[in-house]
Symmetry: D2
Subunit: 367 residues, 4 copies
């Protein structure tokens, strides 16, 4: 039991602090024989990287990943893969004044209470920088999925920023890569851009976001009832991301308002197997994939690191006001998109392996 690990057979342990020498992921359980190089992983880290656009923090680091083990001649060997990202831009003096102060809405106070000691530089281990490790590990998962279930496609995108929602009628998969928000509705981009610029420069504020991640072409039959259900593991995976406060599968919280007649996805026999009239279930029944799209949504709270003063206390209990001057994203949800994709990829791969171990991939015949 390692508390800094996730996964059953594809097991990832992330390590590292925001301003320590390096951070990374120890990836155990990747199948052997998967083609893997550092640039394949770098691709996904670049997607997450801060300083990519004006929407995200100005911290400018290459976030260059190195593979230290587990790969020989550009192929995985089945042994642990160590991924390391050196921290090159560690301007820790920015954070000098928060050593003795607890930022409201941050983990400063609880880490102090729990451990009695903490690395205060940039939030230490509680920094969103930890998610770079996940994105790197997710890159490994993607390559392994490519080898085992090549049709699977995993895509994340923003569907809401603050009170602004996308128009589902304008949903366009191809729009996602074309804007700084990973937004599938090109029609909102200009308004969102203006809003976020105003937030940062004028309002000295930040805002929350809603991310949706979809896995298409996942074979039916993966997922492990009762406590390793696909939705259980996806929920844990997303909720473990910094600042996430809610997770939904398919209808999600809205399922509470539905009736049984409305919610049941009716089943028909298609040419290649069962088909469904709808996907309220989000591609999962009883914790097991149906073959439909797997649909997960999660809410990212607004960062508490803002230029507006908030009341707080110091370690000695004295009152103070906190204004965070460091480099911070007005909407951390943007960078959560590739993180959510990485977690989805890790969970999907994990369950492909687990199902292979548990059932040998037997499938009950239909038709």
């Amino acid at each position: 039991m390692s508390i800094n690990s996730y996964g059953h057979l594809f097991r990832v342990t992330t390590w590292g602090e925001s301003h320590g020498p390096a951070l990374g992921a120890t990836v155990d359980g990747c199948p052997p024989g998967v083609p893997l190089t550092a640039p394949m992983i770098q691709h996904w880290l670049d997607k997450r990287r801060p300083g990519q656009n004006k929407m995200t923090t100005q911290r400018n680091e290459p976030d260059a990943v190195e593979i230290l083990s587990g790969v020989y001649d550009d192929v995985t060997t089945g042994t642990p893969i160590q991924l390391m990202i050196e921290n090159t831009d560690q301007r820790s003096k920015d954070y000098g004044d928060i050593l003795n102060t607890f930022r409201p809405g941050h983990a400063d106070i609880t880490y102090h209470q729990k451990y009695g000691v903490r690395d205060p530089r940039g939030g230490g281990r509680s920094s969103a920088r930890e998610t770079a490790s996940r994105v790197a590990a997710g890159g490994v998962a993607r390559e392994a999925i490519k080898a085992l279930a090549p049709n699977v496609q995993i895509t994340g995108y923003m569907v809401q920023m603050g009170e602004k929602h996308i128009d589902r009628a304008r949903f366009d998969w191809d729009a996602i890569e074309g804007n700084d928000f990973w937004c599938p509705d090109a029609g909102v981009v200009e308004e969102w851009t203006d809003y976020i610029n105003w937030l940062r420069k004028d309002d000295h504020n930040s805002v929350g976001a809603m991310i949706e991640v979809v896995a298409r072409n996942v074979p039916a039959g993966i997922g492990a009832p009762v406590y390793g259900k696909l939705d259980t593991d996806l929920s844990a995976a997303m909720m473990s991301i910094n600042a996430v406060k809610g997770v939904e599968i398919g209808e999600g919280m809205a399922a509470a308002a539905l009736t049984g007649r409305a919610n049941a996805d009716e089943i028909f026999m298609g040419p290649n197997g069962p088909e469904y009239s709808s996907n309220h279930a989000g591609g999962i029944l009883g914790g097991i994939s149906t073959g439909q799209d797997i649909v997960v949504r999660f809410a990212v709270k607004p960062t508490s690191s803002i230029l507006s003063p908030r009341a707080s206390i110091r370690m000695d209990g004295s009152p103070t006001e906190v204004v965070t001057k460091g480099r911070h994203d007005p909407c951390v949800g943007i960078r959560a998109v590739p993180v959510g994709e990485a977690m989805m990829a890790s969970v999907i791969l994990d369950h492909i392996l687990l199902d292979r171990g548990q059932t040998g991939g037997v499938r009950g015949k239909i038709g």
Copy 2:
């Protein structure tokens, strides 16, 4: 790694099918020296028990729990506690016609696809009856919490049924035990009763629900970043319950719409330690408890077992219509209340033990 288990140090494995000889929970890791008897656990099972009121299924079983191990002279010994509930009312003929049919919205089809074989009687392992095991295990957790952190109070209740919401202004802790919905707003009970009766008798339909579970007086400092965060584990715990499709901590999905200024819970020094101006965080920062109320909500979808016909297929792929005539709750969310409480209790105890192991309960001084 057991897929039918949850918890780190307080580890519960549930077992059993809806219509097999028995079901139960193997509870490993309960601390020694905790007073425990079968009636203490029975109390919580009775709360969940079907046939308790008109709102829930007419299946009438005593659900009597037996303690087969781990307790001597009414005190836990630190060895595994086996809890068994015999199935006495197994009218499996009710289910004869669904042997070859997949009920829409049920796990029938995915269990068949994954395992190639399944126990079709009453949904087998995928039946909500599995949650009786959790409630029994949660009863053990409650007694252990009582011994280790006696002020902790764990309470669940319904806040929404279908499109009907409670009025938070009328919230009353004392109302919860006084109605069949575990509803904290006595003002809605009559309307909800009429609605659910109409649903079942006239509309042949079912409806979803939203449950909230609160843990009060949990000490600050429990929770294990990064992948054993308190919110991560609570999310997995709730999402593993049958029919749950979404989980929220504190603000939950609504956090996406907030700004940083609005969302930050400001900190003040109180007479007994830090206090907060609000609880958007739901009592958890960075995965660690703040000492505030821990607030979790989850959505339960409407059961698909309804008297209204839905299109489906048989095992041979031929089309059919499914009408479920068995004994089923029009709102399974009602019985999810004690289940949610049980999962909360298990997670809280688990993290009290884990924190004790990892940090020895050191706490950083404030003030």
Copy 3:
């Protein structure tokens, strides 16, 4: 992490005390589709059962196993299998006088020290009776192996009792089932019988034993370096059996005395793949099976429950003498034979499943 569990994918949790209502095993991870009935498991329990012959304790219980879950129509469903054995002969008054006394060489004192409370009846959880649960679970493992790797044969036998050794030149597989010692050398049976009768009746003493367990026809390639090596897991499995104090693979402790030239098993190409000139390695290289016989030996210490008085103390610290009058085997090693087989079966199955999950059963080509 459950401390009363073993296995990675085939995960067994044993529960129950010597004189509680029942004991058993919760078996999670058995593949679906395996034919399984109670009599199949009973066969192995009968082999272990006390009261079978004069060599073992006179406690006379049927040890009848019931399958409470995980099996439908005599086939496993992939859900947890609960195996229960009721304790029917619980003469706990035999043990009344040891409530306050610590038997030398027993876990009485350490359980008391660790937990502060213990079930003293028959040794409670530390009784060798716990191994009945393992034998039951091992019966499940054997049936699953039969389905997945039908040529595998697992056989245990005694090679030493006290200072008496078998003559390896007379080794005969067929002799094993023909005597009360599971001894492959029929030539020693008479002498061993006389010795053990004298030990019990005249010498009021007990004696240790050495058990060897061999798995034949295990396919090459199972075993998971570095910390799930086949020899590592077998070592843990055997050392967890009551009274075991040493475990050897292949040459075992004797490897310390060998030179590299003598110890290396030379490799030749046979008609069906690699063959070896010898099997010093015990069928395992680098933790992975070679396809040769897997050979494990373990030493069982003599039971401390003897009629001869030994010095000890009471709970209050006062000195006393302990004479154990209960029903105890003069050589517990005899009943350890089926237990060792059960552990071997569980480990082999576990690694067949694990290898399937991790590598998909790919095998590097030779020749």
Copy 4:
């Protein structure tokens, strides 16, 4: 479940290949507040380091450890500690000819069979070089033990090399650090030195060894029955070390030859608690520490990498002879001494933490 990990609460994952860029250990679960610096760990690596004396391989690397995370201001923070050792002396051309050849007694053939692909340079992951990671992690464990149970002393030493044994009558703790064999009997050092020199230079051979590791002053009450017994975990820990083929606790395999009267350690009340007349049990009863010395022995087989030719096959199945010309120890058992100590330290710390979590350190009163 990570197969490259060990430990329950103190969880170590080792990673890295013999001739890759680096190797190391990801240490999760070290308590916060423990003073820790790289030189503290380096001390133990230097003890293991090759090239230290003529007895061990001439590969000359500094084996300098870096701490990449988990430590702030020279104190552990409770977050994962990443330890990295760069490989600086990677003369992989030495191994060019073994790419297609399987060395007898090595894991070359089984890694190839299992994974279909392997890093052949220096044995890749199956090299004894992996144990450097364990020694580094063990250094962390030692510092944490120093903080939690300062009287504990962990010491390993050689008691046998080939057929040469120490004379227990001359056992001297102080002699251990004074010779190249970590031998407690100074009287055998000259003879052993001559023997090993002859083995390497003249006989082109290697030899096995027996190592004993003792932990003194371990408090009574740690160890977790039934499958996390102290002896179970120690057995797994030692058996996972390269080339180990047997493990003993206390009397070990010799227990098979003893009678119950001889083997029972009688109990007396001493001034500070229970005392024992002897220590046949090796300080462990029922898997729980008694407070006596914990005594473990393990046998290390002779390395198969020798200058004498042995028959083998190539990947294409053709016969060949293998002579290993690389830099190899004639007795790998020597370097196994600090490795055994490291594993003992890791297990002891792990169980101190686990006991704290499970029982809160309650202890039953005696006297």
